[in-house]
């Protein structure tokens, strides 16, 4: 194959999986954080008003002199962040009109720190020469002992490491809930800022915008489910989307039945080139503000001179709030039941159909032999084939015998770490979804909106939830 133009590669999901598999505290924290984000989105509390100003420390970790990037390159990145997180970026004008109502001001600004953790004056930049030729997403750049530079207090600073990264990796972030020593974002020095050694097509500073989005708890817009249609970014106003988009797609790009307008590929949380991404949605802003209200409550201060123009930008977020409220307030019982059926059946059944590329364990059956739909009879070796996608996470009824009792051993995790981690991540998503549903059940119960049938369903979901959590814990803690 000929060389292709470079594509965006982000290591955040990798780092997330690694922490899920190694850090039980992270697992617990992620659960709490997701609950908080959901609650925040639903109840729309005041949160932080105005604009939050976050002090940034940039740790330049360089191997060659060229990688010791200039102050000008660093400043250019801070400028980009300040435009992107304030909906002040000029290229927003390219947003197709149909998506205009979705774009929102994140109300966050950044400045290089002027006081270090000991309260001494600083430029907000550290510079460290390293013997390491390039780093990966394994956090080595975050400690002097492994060739990098230690984080500053993450309660006060956004730590940004800028270093050479290998394998085409542009950057990665740690979601909220992880260890303090590794909290922050890492950006490849050639994908940082807009001048110096920043290289096209990643020379408009959008890698940092994307990674800081993760740092503030945003997920990839397609839901990190490969190219399936059932992963979620846990944001209500982003269209359902199959997989990542690359390069600079033409509008519209329809997947997962999201026509006519298609994917919101111009979102910062997709994988397109720098020039092709230019907006956050109101739902994403709500999620970031939830993060600043919850797990990152100590980070940043209110900006002293807020420009009123932006504070009152109620359009999109109001719409979002209405959507959420509507679900319960107007038509509680009916919606509630729809939700359960729709979410559980679809997510659990369909989510898994498009999973991964057949690296599972020693599975000798090619997926292609599994089934064929009418009118192509089962077993037709030439038929278009569909993974039957049996409903494992049903929560609404019985399961076939083979699926109704748990694994007898988790030994395969050691032999097939990739498949194992994929399974862990699936369970994580299912758990988060079940928790959302159960929280809704609770709320509906308090509102007196549950029927007996609803309660029965809720109990089934709870049983299923417990079963998945049990399997999940066995996997995490090894057994």
């Amino acid at each position: 194959m000929a060389d292709e133009t470079p594509r965006r590669i982000c290591g955040t999901q990798n780092a997330h999986m690694r922490l899920l598999a190694t850090d039980p505290e992270y697992v617990a924290a992620r659960g709490r954080i997701e609950n908080h984000a959901l609650e925040f989105a639903r109840t729309s509390p005041a949160g932080r008003s105005g604009i939050t100003l976050i002090p940034v420390v940039v740790h330049v970790v360089y191997n060659t002199p060229a990688q010791n990037i200039s102050d000008a390159q660093i400043n250019s990145q801070i400028d980009v962040l300040n435009q992107d997180f304030r909906k002040a970026n000029a290229d927003l004008a390219s947003l197709p009109a149909v998506f205009a109502p979705l774009a929102a001001d994140a109300r966050i600004e950044f400045k290089l720190a002027d006081k270090d953790p000991s309260n001494n004056p600083t430029t907000g930049i550290t510079r460290t020469q390293t013997a390491t030729a390039s780093f990966s997403d394994d956090d080595k750049v975050k400690s002097a002992a492994t060739g990098g530079h230690a984080a500053w207090n993450r309660d006060k600073f956004l730590n940004v490491w800028v270093c050479p990264l290998s394998g085409g990796l542009l950057g990665y972030a740690q979601f909220p809930g992880g260890p303090a020593a590794t909290d922050g974002v890492v950006i490849n020095c050639t994908a940082f800022g807009t001048n110096g050694i920043a290289a096209a097509p990643f020379n408009l500073g959008r890698t940092a915008t994307h990674e800081v989005g993760h740092f503030l708890n945003l997920r990839h817009i397609w839901g990190d489910d490969g190219t399936g249609c059932n992963g979620s970014d846990f944001v209500g106003d982003t269209p359902n989307q199959a997989g990542p988009n690359y390069g600079a797609p033409a509008f519209p790009h329809v997947t997962c039945g999201n026509g006519p307008h298609g994917d919101l590929f111009m979102n910062y949380m997709d994988y397109v080139d720098d020039r092709a991404m230019f907006m956050f949605t109101a739902g994403q802003v709500t999620r970031m503000q939830a993060c600043l209200d919850g797990p990152r409550a100590t980070l940043g201060t209110p900006k002293p001179n807020p420009t009123l123009k932006f504070i009152d930008d109620p359009g999109p977020s109001l719409k979002f709030r209405d959507d959420v409220t509507l679900k319960f307030a107007d038509d509680a019982t009916l919606k509630f039941r729809d939700d359960i059926t729709f979410k559980f059946s679809d997510d659990a059944t369909l989510k898994f159909r498009d999973d991964g590329g057949g690296k599972l364990k020693v599975v000798d059956d090619p997926i292609a032999t599994l089934a064929g739909g009418d009118p192509i009879g089962p077993g037709d070796p030439f038929g278009p084939v569909v993974n039957p996608g049996v409903n494992i996470g049903g929560g609404r009824g019985a399961q076939p015998f083979i699926l109704s009792t748990p694994h007898h051993s988790m030994a395969w995790g050691r032999s097939f770490p990739e498949a194992f981690q994929a399974q862990v991540s699936q369970y994580e998503q299912q758990i988060a979804q079940a928790e959302q549903l159960l929280a809704q059940c609770q709320q509906a119960e308090q509102a007196g909106a549950l029927t007996d049938a609803d309660r029965q369903q809720a109990n089934q979901i709870y049983e299923e939830y417990q079963r998945i959590v049990g399997e999940y814990q066995r996997m995490i803690h090894g057994q």
């Binding site: 194959m1 329809v254 997947t255 039945g257 026509g259 898994f352 999973d355 991964g356 590329g357 057949g358 690296k359 599972l360 364990k361 020693v362 599975v363 000798d364 059956d365 090619p366 997926i367 292609a368 032999t369 599994l370 739909g373 009118p375 192509i376 077993g379 037709d380 070796p381 030439f382 038929g383 278009p384 084939v385 569909v386 993974n387 039957p388 996608g389 049996v390 494992i392 019985a398 399961q399 076939p400 015998f401 083979i402 699926l403 109704s404 009792t405 694994h407 007898h408 051993s409 030994a411 395969w412 050691r414 032999s415 097939f416 399974q423 699936q426």
Partner: protein, 315 residues
């Protein structure tokens, strides 16, 4: 020209393609999921020209009249153009794609590993057991049923019984499991879908016997020294795997078995019982072999490449 029908992410396909390249054999990967989305197929009959079988894909152009052998490795589902959005259109497009391509396969006069029809039939576990029994190859006592009462009965007769599923899908992979109280408590759920119950075969070790044409590569998997003795796939990472010899009568039986199924390639799972009996468990017509070759150094990649490069003369 040799065609490998698989996908880029299949390491077996890519490894064998590299080997073919090393041998100087023109070969190409054909991913059916590119069809009809990205690939263009044309089949033409106009007198007096010979038939036209032309495939123009994203990665390759194939003149099927020049293809001498095809490895039916991991055929992928066809993919429609997302411009089609309603179910009826999609289903129609996929059916038509299937009709055209199936016709193409039938029309080709080339060597297959494995012939898709034979391959499909050989995947059926019931049929596998049936043929093994016909040829006198020992198989464990088996009951396939969705009748909970019969299942209970079977598991009461056999002191140790296992249950397993027909298919291993990405998400619903379940290891072969001993029937314990936990399973018995759930026996009512047997009615929802047939389950395979078998007498548990005690093992000295598991065998993975890879057959490629005339060559047989038996390997012992020392499953009884791993964390999960019931199903050697579970802890395969810590199992010692080594080449092993099997008695000539068993070799002969396996050759007959392959012939009867009409397979060129197959990965056969057996267990050596403490009493010396070789018990047949199943055959995987698309089974993996790289994980065995990595340990045993048995030259299976080479054997597969050779088989594709030197097809037997058409009979």
């Amino acid at each position: 020209m040799i065609v490998v029908i698989s996908t880029k992410s299949d390491s077996h396909a890519t490894t064998v393609l590299q080997e073919l390249d090393r041998l100087g054999e023109p070969a190409t990967l054909l991913d059916l999921s590119e069809f009809p989305l990205h690939s263009r197929l044309s089949i033409g009959y106009s007198n007096p020209e010979p038939a036209l079988f032309h495939w123009n894909g994203a990665g390759s152009t194939i003149d099927f009249s020049q293809v001498k052998s095809i490895w039916w490795r991991r055929p992928q589902p066809y993919q429609h153009d997302p411009a089609l959005t309603d179910t009826a259109s999609i289903q129609f497009a996929l059916n038509e794609a299937s009709e055209a391509v199936s016709g193409l396969w039938h029309s080709l006069d080339c060597f297959w590993i494995n012939d898709p029809h034979r391959d499909a039939a050989a995947h059926r576990k019931v049929y596998q057991l049936q043929i093994a029994r016909q040829l006198g190859i020992p198989v464990p006592e088996t009951l396939v049923t969705n009748d909970p009462d019969r299942a209970r009965q079977f598991c009461a007769i056999h002191e140790k019984a296992i249950c397993k599923a027909f298919s291993a899908t990405q998400t619903h992979w379940r290891e072969t499991r001993l029937v314990t109280d936990q399973e018995i408590a759930n026996f009512d759920a047997v009615r929802f879908a047939p389950v395979i119950f078998q007498r548990y075969v005690e093992a000295v070790y598991d065998l993975r016997i890879t057959v490629i044409g005339n060559q047989i590569f038996p390997a012992a998997i020392h499953s009884q020294q791993t964390e999960y003795k019931i199903d050697c796939r579970m802890d395969i990472g810590s199992a010692k795997i080594e080449p092993v010899t099997i008695p000539p009568p068993v070799m002969t039986q396996l050759r007959s078995y392959m012939k009867k199924l009409g397979l060129v390639y197959g990965a056969i799972d057996m267990r050596l019982q403490p009493d010396g009996t070789y018990v047949f468990l199943e055959i995987n017509p698309a089974g993996q072999f790289l994980f065995i070759e990595a340990e045993t150094k048995q030259p299976m990649v080479r054997a597969l490449a050779d088989a594709l490069a030197n097809p037997p003369p058409a009979s």
